[in-house]
């Protein structure tokens, strides 16, 4: 399980009401905006691709102030990301969510760039090669993303 190390959490993370979905529209929009930024930022720095709604996730619980997000709140924040194209549900039941901290278009560019840099254009490589190849260090866990993309396309 990942820990909240080397990650500067925003101030709002320590303010209890941000863990309850707000009933007033303006306040809720602001709240969702802050959470969206936090989730994307966190996943990007920690190289996390998938968030399970029912699983433990460091951001969803703050032990210091004894608050955690309800299922409803988690779903609301992730749905907001999905509607912006910054995330995608991986199943119909909306239990697993793929976080696209690079947009799909950007991921495609990164792959093309990767192929160009390594002279792999017009060739065939397996996903495993991209994933585990030494040349792909730093491009993160692509397997999950690509298998998702291939199912989708």
């Amino acid at each position: 399980m990942q820990k909240l190390v080397d990650f500067k959490l925003p101030h709002f993370f320590n303010y209890p009401p941000y863990f309850t979905l707000q009933p007033v529209r303006d306040t809720r929009e602001k709240q969702i905006q802050l959470w969206k930024e936090l989730i994307l930022d966190y996943c990007k720095t920690q190289k996390i691709f998938v968030i399970g709604l029912e699983e433990e996730f460091p951001l969803f619980t703050n032990h210091v102030i004894e608050r955690s997000l309800t299922h409803e709140a988690r779903a609301a924040f992730l749905s907001a990301l999905v509607s912006e194209g910054r995330a995608a549900w991986m199943d119909k039941g909306h239990r697993k969510c793929l976080i696209l901290w690079h947009r799909i278009q950007d991921w495609a560019d990164i792959l093309i760039q990767f192929a160009k840099d390594n002279g792999l254009e017009d060739g065939v490589v397996t996903i495993e090669e991209i994933r585990s190849g030494t040349e792909s260090q730093g491009t993160g866990n692509l397997l999950m993303l690509m298998s998702y993309l291939f199912v989708k396309l």
Binding site: H11, F12, Y15, P16, P17, F19, P23, V24, D26
Partner: protein, 250 residues
């Protein structure tokens, strides 16, 4: 036997009145001259003082506040006009206008979070952060002065006292007495519950819920259902500023 008024008596009377009037005018003239002279001396003294302590006035907030107090007592407002010797001498006007602009900026930037009501301390803190170059030279007194100058722009900026704290309001929300009492109550812990409001203020449940709902609608409050006791808490970002909460970095 009473003498009847004669022409001579009337003339003497008129003459005496004229004399009195002349004398009175003289006295008044001497008095005004004296006053003018005193004022001129005073003005030059004040100018001398300001010139002499120019640096102190600029750099030391406590001194600046005392200087303002002194000016207020004698009926001089150094901020009344940006022209004239005060501005040239001290640049005080510009200083406060600059502060004013920065205050408006901060209020707008934090409005989404606090609903347009911000603690004066918090505002000062943010203001100092923004003015890094000369950190620490802005006092709460300066903030209040700058805000009072913002009033000429029409309604909108106002300082309200809730309990011991001062809050700066940047939205045209009218807070009634009930709201103020709730805010005052919330200062202790940063939040209140319906129960607490009913008990501490001896209100009916409807009155408490109604006031809290209004505060919620105005964006001044946020609900928190996450506590173990299951009671809904109403938090007020304006009295428990997020920026002062210590982040959990470890």
């Amino acid at each position: 036997m009473r003498r009847r008024p004669g022409i001579g008596g009337l003339q003497t009377h008129a003459a005496a009145r004229d004399q009195f009037r002349l004398l009175g005018e003289n006295v008044a003239k001497i008095r005004t001259d004296l006053m003018k002279e005193q004022l001129a001396t005073f003005r030059s003294q004040l100018e001398d003082f300001a010139r002499k302590h120019k640096n102190d006035i600029r750099k030391n907030p406590a001194f600046r506040s005392q200087f303002h107090e002194m000016c207020a007592k004698v009926g001089v407002d150094p901020l009344a006009s940006n022209k004239g010797f005060w501005a040239e001498l001290l640049g005080i006007g510009d200083f406060y206008y600059e502060l004013g602009v920065q205050i408006v900026d901060i209020c707008l930037a934090t409005r989404a979070h606090n609903g347009g009501l911000i603690n004066l301390q918090e505002l000062c803190h943010l203001l100092r952060q923004r003015r890094k170059s000369d950190r620490g030279v802005v006092s709460e007194d300066d903030c209040l002065r700058a805000i009072s100058k913002l009033k000429v722009l029409g309604s909108g900026f106002e300082v309200i006292s809730v309990g011991k704290k001062k809050l700066v309001r940047s939205v045209p929300t009218e807070l009634n007495k009930d709201h103020n009492e709730i805010l005052e109550l919330a200062q202790a812990q940063g939040f209140v519950t319906v129960d607490e409001v009913e008990r501490r203020l001896s209100w009916s449940s409807g009155r408490a819920v109604d006031a809290l709902d209004t505060l919620l609608d105005e964006g001044l409050a946020m609900i928190d259902d996450g506590h173990r006791d299951g009671k809904r808490r109403y938090w007020f970002p304006c009295v428990s500023p997020i920026s002062s909460l210590v982040g959990v970095d470890s």
